[in-house]
């Protein structure tokens, strides 16, 4: 870890510096009795980046792996809607990076601000510079705040919450919901797809409505959806809305948020006065992917070679998770980011050794959604690589949604979280 820190600017001033950096990293990488086969720097310790780090060590052994992450701990977006309902705590969705450290991953807490693909270096906000042979970017999403007038200012002032990145926003929105008067209005705004976690907004509405019904039964929860209909698990959510949340929850499609002014949120047709405003902003690939020139799909998402997860814009950089331009019917989910990270880890180990990569990767997705504090349902899909079309395609006849919401799938959902957190973070 210290070696990683010491790979500072002073080692990287000229052409000869790259050699110096290689030598240092080579020493640092001798974790399994041999010299390092290469240096992989990963930016972003969420589901994608953490899993890539874990599996590079698990499968690669002598790969020198450094993971750069802003936060000191991992906070999960999946399950965070239960925190908003008061059914789980922040501690329940927070895990440490100690497992990855114990697995030999060098953790660097800091913010990566620039990539130099020519020199193959990443620069941190504090001035540190790390050299890589292969770079993995898993920066999640960032928000297109300029598309909604007043949203940036309202978020900055704490008058509006996104809670679409788990952490302080989750705790703040929970606080606002708890503080809301009985008879108050909670208004949620869903952006046009694609966005991170397609069923997430509808799950959130159901869980918060469950809390309101119990704690503040005269309140209303209004969903304004920019999409023409529920974007995921439509039938199951419609049933939950009508059978569990009627009288509290109201759903309005084709209602895109245009502006926030004071405590009024404007769509094309409505001025919505609300006590708590949860505006989920329109999204694009992460800032670092943008500044590195990776967002080559509609200037919004990063195109990748699905055999390796390597960027189609800049060689040597692999991109994972929500920032990628999704293959057909591939959701932007933590589960999928974990799966993509395994494809990338296997490929990077091969590429570092000049060996052929797996020509037939498979990824799959499982996504559970709670519809109350005690019942959940799922959507699942399996995606096989299609060599002719050079993309992942779902297998006809496979995948699907739950027959009905159930108590047992709520247990599965929590077990899923326990297992994927352990898998991604190498928890003891």
């Amino acid at each position: 870890m210290k070696q990683g820190f010491e790979l500072g600017r002073r080692h990287l001033l000229g052409a000869g510096a790259a050699l110096a950096a290689t030598t240092l990293a080579g020493c640092a990488g001798m974790t399994s009795g041999g010299p390092s086969i290469g240096r992989v720097v990963i930016v972003g310790g969420g589901y994608g980046g953490a899993t890539a780090a874990r599996y590079l060590k698990l499968w690669g052994g002598n790969v020198d792996v450094t993971l750069i992450e802003r936060q000191s701990e991992f906070v999960s977006c999946p399950i965070s809607n239960l925190v908003l309902g008061g059914y789980k705590t922040m501690a329940d969705i927070t895990r440490g990076y100690g497992g990855l450290k114990a697995a030999g991953v060098k953790m660097v807490q800091g913010e990566a601000v620039a990539v130099d693909p020519g020199a193959r270096t990443v620069r941190l906000a504090d001035g540190r510079t790390l050299a890589y042979d292969r770079l993995v970017l898993s920066p999640g999403v960032d928000f297109m705040l300029d598309q909604v007038g007043g949203l940036q200012a309202a978020l900055d002032a704490g008058r509006v919450f996104h809670a679409w990145k788990a952490g302080p926003q989750t705790a703040a929105l929970r606080g606002a919901i708890e503080g809301m008067r009985d008879g108050g209005v909670f208004a949620m705004f869903i952006p046009k797809a694609p966005y991170r976690c397609p069923p997430g907004p509808y799950e959130r509405a159901c869980v918060v409505a469950t809390y309101l019904k119990a704690a503040k039964p005269r309140s209303k929860l209004l969903i304004y959806d920019a999409n023409p209909e529920i974007t995921s698990k439509k039938g199951l959510f419609q049933k939950a809305f009508s059978e569990l949340h009627a009288g509290i929850l109201e759903y309005r499609p084709n209602a895109e948020l245009k502006e926030i002014a004071g405590n009024v949120a404007r769509t094309e047709f409505d001025d919505v006065k609300a006590d708590v405003i949860n505006a989920i902003p329109p999204q694009r690939g992460g800032d670092l992917a943008r500044s590195a020139g990776l967002l080559n799909m509609n200037a919004r998402w990063a195109g990748v070679n699905w055999l390796t997860m390597e960027s189609t814009a800049v060689p040597g950089i692999h991109v994972l998770g929500d920032t990628t331009f999704s293959a057909p019917q591939m959701p932007k989910s933590g589960h999928m980011a974990n799966q993509q990270a395994k494809v990338a880890a296997a490929a990077i180990i091969q590429l570092l050794q000049g060996a052929a990569v797996n020509p037939a990767p498979v990824v799959m997705n499982t996504c559970y959604s709670f519809v109350s504090d005690r019942e959940a349902m799922h959507v699942a899909s399996v995606h096989q690589y299609n060599a002719a079309e050079k993309t992942f395609k779902t297998v006809p006849g496979s995948g699907g949604v739950s027959a009905a919401r159930s108590l047992s799938e709520a247990r599965h959902a929590l077990s899923w979280a326990n297992n994927i957190w352990t898998d991604s973070l190498a928890l003891a």
């Binding site: 499968w59 395994k342 990767p361 498979v362 699907g400 159930s406 599965h412 297992n419 898998d423």
Partner: protein, 104 residues
């Protein structure tokens, strides 16, 4: 069957560098099995009430997935997932899990 699969798969994992065909099979099996790890644990060492796959005989895993696929074994989700994998892929991932130590 279980023992046979161990004999076939374990050396391929250990000696992956020696024969490209073996190495490819072993890496493929490992990667296929890793698609199950989100729920069934890393290398099949599951936590909580998920079914562990580590150390389970390959023929048992193959039979279970076939029954999920056909519907003979009712499920909420596994039937839908099993239908996404080919028989050859199931054979490979089952062999991998069979060769893993059960959870410590």
């Amino acid at each position: 069957m279980h023992r046979l699969t161990r004999l076939l798969v374990a050396p391929a994992l250990l000696l992956g560098g020696l024969s490209p065909a073996w190495a490819q099979d072993a890496n493929l099996a490992r990667s296929l099995a890793a698609t199950c790890a989100n729920c069934h644990g890393t290398n099949g060492q599951a936590r909580g009430d998920m079914t562990p796959l580590a150390g389970v005989p390959a023929n048992k895993i193959i039979a279970m997935l076939a029954d999920f696929k056909s519907g003979a074994l009712p499920s909420t989700i596994m039937g839908q997932i099993a239908k996404g994998y080919t028989d050859e892929q199931v054979r490979l991932l089952a062999g991998f899990f069979a060769a893993q130590p059960a959870k410590r």
